[in-house]
Amino acid sequence: MHDLDDAVLVGLCRRGDTAAWEALVTRYQRLVFSIPRRAGLDEDLAADVFQQVFATLVEQLGRLEHPERVAGWLATTARRESWRVSRLRRGLPATTISNEDGDLELPDRDPLPGEELERIEEHHRVRVAVGRLDEKCRNLLQALFFAPEPPAYAEVATRLGIPEGSIGPTRGRCLQKVRRLLETNGA
């Protein structure tokens, strides 16, 4: 399931495939949770936003006109819900609004500026692409690039049980796979 693209996963969810739903939630859990957290909500409120977003997705599955863009839908809905919860917490009205282009226009300070949301979305796109790789590539790229500091190849070789000399060429092939996946998804 982890290597299926979003449109296929959504299609399976629509047919009641619970494994596909689990794969979809797992794929987007970091994106949907990061948005309310970066908007300043604590873990409990972020968890509420998280649940509401996916509950809304379940209801709207049949209406999504562009299932391949479910990532954008989730990000927009999470941002909107974060704003609504943030306003409720401050005792303000929580009507949500949008302008003619569908962009979120907020009557007060947006707790999550557009640039920050773009950064979260971009990071997530790359992580999803890595997540769809075969196990060998996925493990290698996660070991090399998802750590806070670049690790030594010797350390990575020991951890993954592979020859140190193979890391460079394998890394190159795996990154090219990521590039193809991102290009296929329009990134």
Partner: protein, 208 residues
């Protein structure tokens, strides 16, 4: 000449291998072996694009901006489908009623003596056996404002406007009234959720 050096020097015959560009971006290529590849990259569109892609993507990978949801939060969302992919109404827990259009001011002939001219506000009334939804549609800036009231027994609820974009929501106030704006042009359904019932009115066209 070592294999590494011949690979790097292939820049003089063709493109720089992707692996070498990755080494340059990661700072793993010794300074003494960078000149030829860098000279090629500077003048080659595709190699330059590869370098930019790698710089951008590796920076993004190392950007620790995201945060994983706790496992119990993820599991709770996964469990949604144990009730919801099998629709809630199929389990007898949620009533979904389609409200019929009973009145549309656009379709009503003007009474005699009333000055002609398009009314700024359009009124639509949808109804079920137990409730009516009085909806007002009026221009607002470059979009529309939808406001209205649910008539009938209810103690609060929510209104959701559903179209192609992400839904727009509002709470019903004490008088069961609501307002949604600005709403872009498009075709919508409106869902009013009260207790265990969803009242849905479809086919609401808001012109561009």
């Amino acid at each position: 000449m070592t294999t590494d050096r011949s690979n790097e020097m292939s820049a003089t015959r063709g493109h720089v291998p992707f692996e070498t560009i990755a080494d340059i971006v990661e700072g793993r290529l010794p300074a003494s072996r960078r000149d030829a590849p860098l000279a090629h990259i500077a003048g080659c569109g595709s190699c330059g694009e590869a370098q930019r892609w790698l710089q951008r993507t590796l920076t993004t990978m190392r950007d620790h901006i995201g945060e994983d949801a706790p496992a119990h939060v993820v599991n709770r969302a996964i469990r949604l489908t144990r009730t919801a992919v099998l629709p809630a109404e199929a389990q007898g827990r949620l009533r979904r009623l389609v409200a019929a259009l009973r009145f549309d001011s656009l379709a009503t002939p003007q009474a005699m003596g009333v000055r002609s001219g398009a009314a700024a506000t359009r009124q639509l009334i949808f109804g079920t056996e137990e409730h009516d939804l009085d909806l007002r549609v009026e221009p607002s800036g470059t979009g529309w404002r939808l406001s209205g009231q649910l008539l009938g027994e209810a103690s609060g609820g929510t209104v959701r406007l559903v179209g192609e974009a992400a839904p727009i929501e509002a709470e019903l106030d004490e008088s069961l009234e609501f307002a949604l704006e600005p709403v872009p042009a498009g075709r919508y359904a409106i869902q009013v959720r009260i207790a265990d019932t969803v009242i849905e009115a479809e086919g609401i066209e808001l012109g561009a």
